[in-house]
Symmetry: C2
Subunit: 283 residues, 2 copies
DNA sequence: GCATGTGAAACCATTCACAGCG
DNA sequence: CGCTGTGAATGGTTTCACATGC
């Protein structure tokens, strides 16, 4: 159980679908922008466009919160802002600690959207004694020895981990032991936590890899595809590759004698022609 | 899961499910760790644990790639690393540009996992002329005027946006016009892009809000016994939680005469009796 | 014998399409 | 009449459980 789990087996029916919860902040942001421009009401269509979803989905999402719209008119912006804020728990503010004040931690501490929407940076914590006392984003960094007392004194229940991967699990354990029950993890590691603790993960490298997958697919289709009508750019000049270690050779099946029958099997170097994306049901 | 769209309606069936693609990087990381410890094979059970998923899911995921395991034995680590890398398109390297070298952009540029897994920072770009020439993570920042030629000269197809929200859409358009077809967006905005361009979004503030939702739910459950459905809780003046503007009052339905009937309607502040932790707020 | 690979079942999410109401 | 709210249809994902084959 890693990333944002269903957090709980289904504590008795009730409740907003996880996918909907994940979109509420999006709606809230769009609504806040409208509110700032003093727009009084919006239709599901307009709001959906602003939030980047389709209107049916938005209406379905809102239907889980209650009937907050007016038929034939739309939604009252201010009222909806309040209802969503309340649903997300943003009418109270949440003290947050950031552990690991390197480049990333500092960036997070400086991030404005942080403080503005119900969250307050209660403390910045780092293991490097040399950092202690140094102000980052106007807050003095504290040494990790203080972690437990900081959590307790401030009633912190949300922690952000921005440490190197190697330190993440240990920091996580200390946070949890001290009372934190929600963790936002920026370290590229799978954290293991006890039940009842939520972990969400933000991983740059994973996001890039997902993009690379689609990117490759586009290139492959463009090159060998009768499908996909027109592509924006013809083909990306496949720059030479530079694999990071010495394992540039495909690597053989191994085991014993028979070779596992891959689908679009190896042989194609960095890319060769490869053709389609391979993948296809096995025989 | 970020905003990564379905990239395409279903370009004709075939292909690996999106949910599976999103997990491949996770498996790859776990496998790489095993590889470094020279572990020759793993079972689906072991690998699943290391990646933080369950084994049935992992096997199903791998089944979309082909039959790369050996019954009764498990998977050959090296071979699987190669197959997944190839599937993700990591056997070639991808030049990436980062636009917006503020705190976050600098953190991204310094992020090690970046370069190590098939990605290469081809350029750092910023709109501030004063930044031009300044080295960040060993690379000289270039002015945004050079954006188009940098993209073209380096065959960049992946761009990372780390600018303030206000600049994001414009930067996005320039990137796309110059040939970028995959974008990783860190700015808190919904980007609109033409078909064929993939956007993935990483949004700190959204992640925190999702955590806050669950956090609130935990507190609510702990405090309000059996069921939260009781509408109109008597007490509780909603804590004056330092809302950022003057709109601290709930905001009324509005429209005309009738009040919309919410579900677990307002009135319930942070939670009342609280029970759980919950920060001593500054009044 | 044991772990993979996979149909089938269960589950969740999205989309459709329209009834219902201001 | 227009737009919300929602049952029903569709599509995708996860889980189960076991046949398959090393």
């Amino acid at each position: 159980m890693a990333t944002g789990r269903p957090h709980r087996p289904t504590t008795r029916g009730r409740g907003i679908p996880e996918a909907t919860v994940a979109r509420l902040p999006l709606y809230l942001r769009a609504l806040t922008a409208l509110s700032e421009r003093s727009v009084p009401t919006v239709s599901s269509e307009e709001l959906a466009t602003a939030a980047g979803v389709n209107s049916a989905k938005l209406r379905k999402d809102f239907s889980y919160l209650g009937s907050y719209g007016t038929r034939g008119v739309g939604y009252d912006v201010e009222y909806l802002v309040y209802q969503i804020s309340r649903e997300l728990g943003l009418t109270q503010d949440w003290p947050v600690v950031i552990v690991g004040i390197g480049n990333l931690g500092a960036a997070l501490a400086n991030y404005g959207g942080f403080a503005s929407r119900g969250f307050r940076v209660a403390a910045l914590i780092d293991a490097d004694a040399a950092m202690a006392g140094r102000p980052v984003a106007g807050i003095a960094v504290q040494h990790i020895d203080e972690l437990e007392s900081i959590i307790a004194d401030n009633g912190v229940s949300i922690g952000v981990i921005a440490t190197p991967a190697g330190a993440a699990q240990q920091v996580c354990e200390r946070l949890v032991a001290a009372g934190v029950t929600s963790i936002l993890n920026f370290a590229p590691t799978v954290l293991s936590v006890p039940d009842g603790v939520d972990v969400r993960k933000v991983d740059l490298s994973i996001e890039l890899q997902i993009l690379a997958f689609h990117e490759q697919r586009k290139a492959g289709e463009a090159a060998a595809g009768p499908d996909i009508t027109d592509m924006v750019t013809p083909v990306v000049p496949p720059v030479a590759a530079t694999r990071r270690r010495a394992d540039d050779v495909p690597a053989r099946p191994a085991v014993d004698g028979a070779v596992p029958h891959g689908v679009g099997d190896a042989g194609s170097g960095p890319d060769g022609s490869d053709g389609g994306r391979s993948a296809a049901m096995p025989a």
